[in-house]
Amino acid sequence: MSQHKITVTVNGQAVTQEVESRLLLVHFIRENLDLTGTHIGCDTTSCGACTISLNGRTVKSCTVFAVQANGGEIETIEGVAQGGQLHPLQEGFWEKHGLQCGYCTPGMIMSAKHLLAHNPDPSEMEIRQAISGNLCRCTGYNKIVEAIQYAAAKLNQPTPEEVPA
């Protein structure tokens, strides 16, 4: 099996490694980089547990080869909290009980983050559609929707310096 040298930036850090052509991106992330927050729940691109951001797009990393990410920018769940501060989505999931077993949660948060980046004030149905590629077996989704609404509201609040005096 041929090997390829790839360089990717993962959560802001550049990594260079030799990988097999057939290595899936999700295995590269989980096993080569030990970032185990990205999960595997199926083998048909259906469940979304492996959702990450690649060059600003959400992808299911079980259906991308590691070599396809060469030169790219990857964000995983481990990169979502910044400077020790939870992201509003993470706060929302905690506050609204948007998770139970936690297995689908990283993928859900990555899909939701993409949604809010492109649609800061989504309707409930837009939220439901945006996470319809992510399966959750525990929550029944209602509280995930609430978690995303919480984050949207928080992200849309004017920051203190934007508040007129």
Binding site: R30, C42, H97, M125, K143
Partner: protein, 818 residues
């Protein structure tokens, strides 16, 4: 009749409420309320507080630790060769090409296991199941050989290189066909038959008499198809045998680590203290992670033989085609009523399709689980249940699908029959239920099949659901729509659950009594660790158990860490399934706390130089009666327990309790579903769904809501979407998430939930289980709504899943498709 105006008297329910103001809780009749009981301040966070979960920070940051996240030095990977036939002789297995691949360490077959007498294993119901076969396979996707390699990719390559010669045999997939014994699934058995067991409950003679005298009888064949829990994390293991110490560590996706350890010890011959089962974070269980699957056994054997860690993680297709399944019950059911429309009796003939082994996860004495709860919420004179189970060429069935031992099947049947009877008699399904409910003052209630329901107030729950959804207005809307030719249905389900197995005298699994345990240690600075014999798979035990301890001892719940799932450290228990954790281990937490509180009283009396009798408990301290300023907090007492304890009292502040529940708990609820049906496509749209649950006293309302939402969605799923389907050759046609349809956020309705609270009189904090109630209660509400929409067209029953094809066919038969 007025069901929906909250300002008017609630006629029907009023007859049964208010009788329950029992002084001092002395009577067994329990008061129903809607107010969640809170006795501790928020900084303590005891029962009733809507606390955020303690386990969440690691999960929302991707720092959970699931089995597949475990990576050990020198770890090997296992992959499985599976059968393409549902029934075939194995003529030869040639592993030479696989073994020739670089990185392949071993190929293990049934013959290799036979050398250690490990090629068969016991099931939870004391049947036998092949680990790896020698002569023949009995289901599609059965494990045939296992490859061990240095990477998961090489292991997968090698699976393709293992050559197996098969000679196909006749296949039996239909359980009624299996009864004829023309094709034997298990010719290893002494008795040459596919019949596994016969089981009866209730009183046949009394029931036949009731039916002979009945004014009305309805009869229906109801099939509850095979379904799969499909937790988003599949099953897997990392087995780590260290030859130098003789210690076997098994990181495993299991809901019952302690029982698994005992089974492994008995089957392998390894001493039990040298086996450590660790169930780390579990990505959903729902019953599918109770059994032992062949993959686990071979993975452990491989590590034992090779002296190296071995990882096995099944993929989704393996999970959907080979792991144990739920349901597959065929029910011929009849309900009798007198001339006044009062239900008098129930008669059931059932056939259980168990696949190739009776591997049901049931208590030993209950081959059909707790199915005999099937008289449900209705007071009737007699019932009789007659059941057979058969082998077929399918993987083992009989595990739960987020349900307490066959209660979903029972509830679906009685709620469908009740609805059919109401419709046949031309009565409103809500009024018909109100008329037939077990009255609230009849509890504890002895059912015709021998259960003693602990507490209930069915009228109050249904009335609340009717009020919340605006029942009369919906019926009016339905009538108007029907006049216009539109199809709208309203379905009710008023279910009774039975959870919390169970009393040791009747409940065991492989002989191990179904108690559960808690061990609490309070450290000198007043912080605590509590360990349990259960194992959360998302239920939130780290939060709710801490709240129970906070309630009892006044320690802030933030100061109580909860641990489960490591058999080296946690006290023995039977695990988490069948909504048993709160009824058993939750009760153990209370009892262990109370033991600590009793010791704390001695220490407080010593510190305050008073008699123990002069002290009274107040939230988090022992105080002198009439002089509350003289008090010692639990933290002060904890410190003294290690620094200044009375001379006649042992140091330390800890306790363990193994709780044997005196009875099961009987949660209940009433659900109402409104559907609209598209006449062109047959598609069912769930417009509204109101769920009123009563799980007794509530530990954490936020967690209960989460459990109910999740359970409702796992009720919606089999009602409308999910079914594991086989063709006539026993090939599974639903082996991926593209074929086996889990509801997404788009299909899932916005659940409207509420509660009534009728405490369990025998549970120490009056709590009952809740996780499975909605999965049990939701499917018949949805099915009843669909049939309600179609009844006037001559439709009286549709088996779940109610797919657009089935509805469209029914509409076409009635000549009304667009």
């Amino acid at each position: 009749m007025n069901y929906h105006d909250p300002h008017k008297p609630k006629h029907l329910a009023d007859r049964f409420e208010n009788k329950h103001a029992v002084p001092n809780g002395a009577s067994a009749v329990v008061a129903t309320t809607e107010t969640v009981r809170v006795t501790t301040p928020a900084d303590i966070g005891g029962m009733g507080h809507r606390m955020k979960r303690k386990e969440d920070p690691r999960f929302i940051q991707g720092k959970g630790r699931y089995v597949d996240d475990i990576k050990l030095p020198g770890m090997l990977y296992m992959d499985i060769v599976r059968s393409p036939y549902a029934h075939a002789k194995i003529l030869n297995i040639d592993a030479s090409a696989a073994l020739a691949l670089d990185g392949v360490v071993a190929v293990i077959t049934g013959k290799d296991l036979a050398a250690h007498n490990l090629h068969w294993m016991p099931t939870l119901m004391s049947d036998t199941q092949m680990v790896l076969p020698i002569d023949k396979v009995v289901y599609y996707s059965q494990e045939v050989a296992c490859v061990i390699a240095t990477s998961r990719y090489i292991a997968a390559d090698a699976v393709e290189q293992v050559m197996v010669d098969y000679e196909p045999l006749d296949v039996v997939v239909d359980p009624y066909q299996a009864l004829k014994d023309e094709t034997l699934v298990r010719d290893d058995k002494e008795l040459k038959t596919n019949r596994i067991w016969h089981w009866e409950a209730g009183d046949k003679e009394a029931t036949d008499k009731v039916f002979a005298a009945a004014a009305h009888v309805v009869k229906e064949h109801i099939y509850l198809p095979r379904i799969h829990v499909a937790s988003i994390e599949t099953c897997g293991m990392v087995a780590n045998f260290t030859p130098a110490t003789g210690k076997m560590q098994l990181y495993m996706t299991t809901q019952a680590p302690h029982a698994i350890r005992t089974v492994f010890a008995l089957v392998s011959g390894l001493p039990e203290h040298r086996i450590q089962v660790i169930s780390p974070d579990i990505g959903g269980g729902f019953g599918g992670k109770v059994p032992v699957y062949p993959g686990y056994v071979v993975c452990a054997v491989a590590s034992l033989l090779l002296g190296k860690p071995v990882k096995w993680i099944e993929d989704r297709s393996e999970n959907l085609t080979a792991d144990s399944f739920a349901r597959d019950y065929h029910l011929e059911a009849e309900l009798a009523a007198d001339a006044n429309g009062k239900i008098t009796g129930l008669r059931v003939n059932g056939l259980a399709d168990h696949g190739c082994a009776d591997a049901a996860a049931n208590p030993s004495k209950f081959p059909a689980g707790l199915f005999s709860i099937c008289t449900g919420s209705y007071d009737m004179q007699a019932a009789h249940i007659n059941f057979d189970a058969v082998y077929t060429n399918k993987p083992p069935g009989g595990v739960a699908y987020r349900c307490s031992f066959r209660v979903t099947e029972a509830v679906h049947m009685i709620e469908r029959l009740t609805d059919i009877m109401a419709h046949e008699l031309g009565e409103d399904p809500a009024a018909f239920r109100m008329k037939n409910f077990i009255p609230a003052d009849h509890f504890p209630y002895k059912s015709p099949t021998g259960w003693e329901y602990d507490s209930g107030n069915y009228h109050a729950a249904l009335q609340k659901a009717l009020d919340m959804i605006g029942y009369d207005a919906l019926r009016q809307e339905q009538a108007e729509k029907r006049a216009r030719g539109e199809l709208m249905g309203i379905g009710i389900s008023s279910f009774t659950e039975v959870v919390g197995a169970g009393p040791a005298k009747d409940y065991d699994i492989l002989g191990i009594k179904m108690f559960d345990s808690a061990e609490i240690r309070i450290h000198p600075t007043g912080k605590a660790i509590a360990r349990f014999g259960t194992k959360s798979q998302g239920q939130g035990h780290e939060t709710t158990y801490a709240q129970i301890i906070a309630e009892e001892l006044g320690l802030p719940m933030a100061d109580v860490d909860v641990e489960e799932g490591d058999t080296d450290t946690a006290p023995y228990g039977l695990g988490t399934y069948a909504s048993r954790s709160t009824p058993t281990a939750g009760a153990a937490a209370v009892m262990a706390s109370r033991k600590i509180k009793a010791k704390a009283r001695k220490i407080a009396a010593h510190l305050l130089e008073v008699s123990e009798d002069d002290l009274e408990w107040n939230i988090n301290k022992w105080q002198v009666k009439g002089s509350p300023e003289q008090a010692k907090t639990i933290q002060e007492i904890a410190f003294a327990a290690y620094t200044n304890h009375p001379p006649d009292v042992e140091a330390g502040l800890e306790a363990t309790d193994y709780y044997n529940p005196p009875n099961l708990t009987f949660p209940f609820g009433s659900y109402i579903c409104v559907v609209d049906i598209d006449k062109g496509t047959g598609e069912v749209h769930v417009r509204r769904f109101v769920a009123i649950d009563d799980c007794g006293n509530i530990i954490n309302p936020l967690v209960v809501e989460g459990q109910v939402h999740g359970g409702l969605t796992m009720g919606l799923a089999p009602a409308l979407y999910e079914e594991i389907v086989y063709d006539e050759n026993g090939q599974c046609l639903t082996g991926t998430f593209a074929d086996y349809l889990l509801p997404t956020a788009v299909e899932s309705p916005k659940w409207e939930t509420g509660h009534t609270i009728t405490p369990s009189p025998h549970h120490p904090i009056g709590a009952k289980g809740v996780g499975e109630s909605p999965t049990v209660g939701a499917p018949p509400a949805i099915a009843n709504a669909v049939v309600d929409a179609l009844w006037h067209l001559g439709v009286r029953h549709i088996d779940i899943p109610i797919t657009p094809q089935k509805v469209w066919q029914a509409l076409r038969d009635a000549g009304v498709t667009d």
